[in-house]
């Protein structure tokens, strides 16, 4: 796609005007530097999404956008079921409800220093991570369905957490409308041993230090203090979500034409929200969201048990849990009229602004914590949702750094052991079962997360509250 089609409409906002089969324009939030480094495929994919039936306002790409499957990763699109709007498995992604939760510890990072190696070893021993790892929990079919309906609330009911965790989890830890009956036996089988596991790739559990505060009021409301230690967990719905995504993508790709949908790219596979295919996927996807929430809740329980044994002064209190691969039914005011829309966020974090009724009362005045994961060698960020973000991109922000090098290229360039050693010199302890996996996830293989966050901040999609630096990384 030639660059001239990209019009700069703000300091950090760009637009591909509506043309041809596009029903709406495509808007990209990024600095000039990020745009210069952007893959043309992202622009093509953002424009393709704009062609889907029932899309409202625009197809959006966040500052960390990169080439995905049909939708760009970092893509946001809202669809109106009353205007033939669609639900797209590609618009949610394979790792349904992948997300980040951050826990406060209430202790300074300095208090961890003396115990750092011990803490890293104990977390590594307790948290199942990497290829072939299994959790200690095996679910019967009945338990599986209860988990898929109950989400984190189910896990808390089993004793893996406290009620206060649920008020600090998106959707209070459980999305309604889950349909375990729409999930194949294969997807459930794939999940059987995977509850309470991190997975591999870019998933992690990190102990981090609050390195800087940018917004004192929000930091106070979130309980963040400079110098404190926090724990962040990044993972998703594991094998269950992957299998649901795989099956739905195939079905939607093969049946789109029968619904009268012409797909500009097969991977934009979708079905009308009102169709039987669409409703089945929605039920399965919501159950997978609950699975991810339950999974992160169980991992929280495991992390707490390790801290209780090694640093009993630390009280791991959930700051927030937010997903970045979802489709959610939300009410947004468009042209002065409230509309019930299905908002797809694929590699994009929901970022609800102040006053939003879905926020717990103690966070409502400030806005939602927006949790942005970095790499094992770079910062992670906590932002807050804004009123402007609600109107600019349906309350959405970036989700991470986004890769700049392929896994293959990363493995050519770095040795896992050397990456671990150089991070150790900087005081970052990495524990991983796979040196190859570490090489693929080398910090240099990612875009500059600080630049991504700066663009989101300037575009007011979400604004900076705190920057976190890694101390210990348990790598999936």
């Amino acid at each position: 796609m030639p660059e001239r089609r990209l019009n700069r409409i703000g300091e950090d906002e760009w637009e591909i005007a509506q043309e041809g089969a596009m029903r709406v324009p495509a808007r990209i939030f990024a600095s000039a530097d990020l745009i210069a480094g952007l893959d043309d495929k992202v622009l093509e994919q953002a424009a393709n999404v704009a062609m889907l039936p029932g899309i409202v306002e625009a197809s959006y790409a966040m500052p960390d956008a990169h080439w995905g499957y049909g939708f760009p990763i970092g893509g946001v699109a809202a669809f109106d079921p009353e205007e033939g709007g669609v639900i797209s498995a590609g618009g949610v992604g394979f790792d349904i409800s992948c997300g980040v939760r951050t826990l406060l510890t209430g202790i300074g990072a300095g208090a961890i220093t003396a115990q750092r190696e011990r803490l890293a070893d104990a977390l590594f021993q307790r948290i199942p991570a990497g290829v072939g790892s299994h959790g200690e929990i095996s679910l019967t079919p009945k338990d599986m369905d209860a988990m898929l309906r109950g989400g984190a609330a189910w896990a808390v009911g089993r004793g893996w957490g406290v009620a206060a965790d649920l008020t600090r989890t998106e959707d209070y830890g459980c999305v309604a409308g889950a349909g375990p009956e729409f999930i194949s036996a294969k997807a459930k089988e794939r999940q059987k041993g995977e509850m309470g596991t991190l997975g591999s790739g870019n998933h992690y559990l990190e102990v981090q230090r609050v390195a800087a505060i940018f917004d004192e009021d929000a930091a106070r409301a979130y309980g963040l203090k400079a110098g404190d230690a926090v724990v962040s967990i990044h993972c998703g719905s594991r094998g269950l979500g992957h299998q649901i995504g795989t099956e739905a993508l195939r079905e939607m790709a093969l049946t789109a034409a029968s619904h009268g949908i012409a797909l500009p790219d097969r991977e934009l596979a979708c079905a009308p929200i009102a169709s039987e295919t669409g409703q089945r996927y929605l039920g399965a996807m919501r159950a997978a969201i609950n699975c991810a929430l339950a999974n992160r809740q169980i991992l929280t329980h495991l992390a707490r048990s390790v801290f209780a044994a090694i640093l009993p002064r630390a009280q791991l209190k959930l700051l927030y849990d937010v997903s970045h691969n979802t489709c959610k039914e939300e009410t947004h005011t468009v042209a002065g009229r409230p509309r019930a829309l299905y908002v797809h966020r694929k590699g994009a974090t929901r970022a609800l602004g102040p006053g939003h009724p879905a926020l717990p009362p103690d966070l409502r005045a400030v806005g939602q914590p927006v949790l942005i994961g970095g790499t094992m060698g770079t910062s992670s960020w906590i932002l807050r949702g804004t009123a402007e973000g609600m109107t600019r991109a349906f309350g959405s922000a970036c989700h991470g750094a986004g890769r700049s090098l392929s896994r293959h290229a990363a493995r050519q360039r770095w040795q896992g052991r050397a990456v671990i050693d150089s991070l150790a010199e900087r005081g970052i302890i990495v524990r991983s079962r796979s040196a190859k996996g570490v090489a693929e996830e080398a910090p240099g293989a990612y875009k500059d997360v600080d630049a991504v966050v700066a663009a989101a901040h300037r575009a007011r999609l979400a604004t900076k509250v705190a920057r976190l630096e890694p101390l210990i990384c348990i790598k999936g």
């Binding site: 893959d39 495929k41 990169h66 080439w67 995905g68 499957y69 990763i73 394979f94 790792d95 990497g130 290829v131 072939g132 294969k186 089988e189 794939r190 059987k192 997975g199 591999s200 790739g201 094998g239 992957h242 299998q243 995504g245 795989t246 993508l249 195939r250 790709a253 093969l254 097969r266 991977e267 596979a269 986004g402 890769r403 392929s406 896994r407 293959h408 290229a409 493995r411 079962r433 796979s434 040196a435 190859k436 996996g437 693929e440």
Partner: protein
């Protein structure tokens, strides 16, 4: 690539798998080896156990995605790593045998799990020289 073989190709966030060979079946076998190699070096995996998969699809390229997804499912649920594949294709139907052994952290270095095979860069084609090539991107 020589007459028969596999390779990985670049994709922004993920990995592309490509297999080529003198027959359609050979290209599928090589593509599956490329998939197995995303997880662990097939040279370190002994063909001690075998599992069977079968699938059916309305088109050859979808058949490749279905086949690779069947292997991904087996890797996820059986805990096996794979080293060798034997494929037979009859019209829209595929049957395959995959040989490998259980993942052993002491002997195998596994890099990453594969979430699913995608339709990105998906192609099954016969080249001008008669060889077949089968490829797609897998999400990791």
């Amino acid at each position: 690539m020589t007459t028969r073989g596999w390779e990985h190709f670049e994709h922004g966030a993920d990995i592309g798998v490509r297999g080529c060979g003198p027959t359609l079946e050979a290209s599928f076998e090589e593509a599956a080896t490329a998939l197995a190699a995303v997880v662990a070096d097939p040279g370190t995996v002994r063909p001690l156990q075998s599992i069977a998969v079968a699938c059916e699809a309305p088109a050859l390229d979808i058949l490749l995605v279905d086949f690779l997804n069947a292997i991904i499912y087996e890797m996820a649920t059986s805990g096996l790593l794979f080293a060798a594949f034997h494929v037979t294709i009859d019209g829209a139907r595929l049957r395959a045998e995959a040989k490998g052994e259980p993942f052993d952290a002491g002997r195998h270095e596994a890099a990453v799990e594969v979430k699913g095979a995608t339709m990105t860069a998906l192609k099954v084609e016969q080249l001008a020289d008669g060889r077949w090539c089968a490829q797609c991107v897998v999400d990791v």
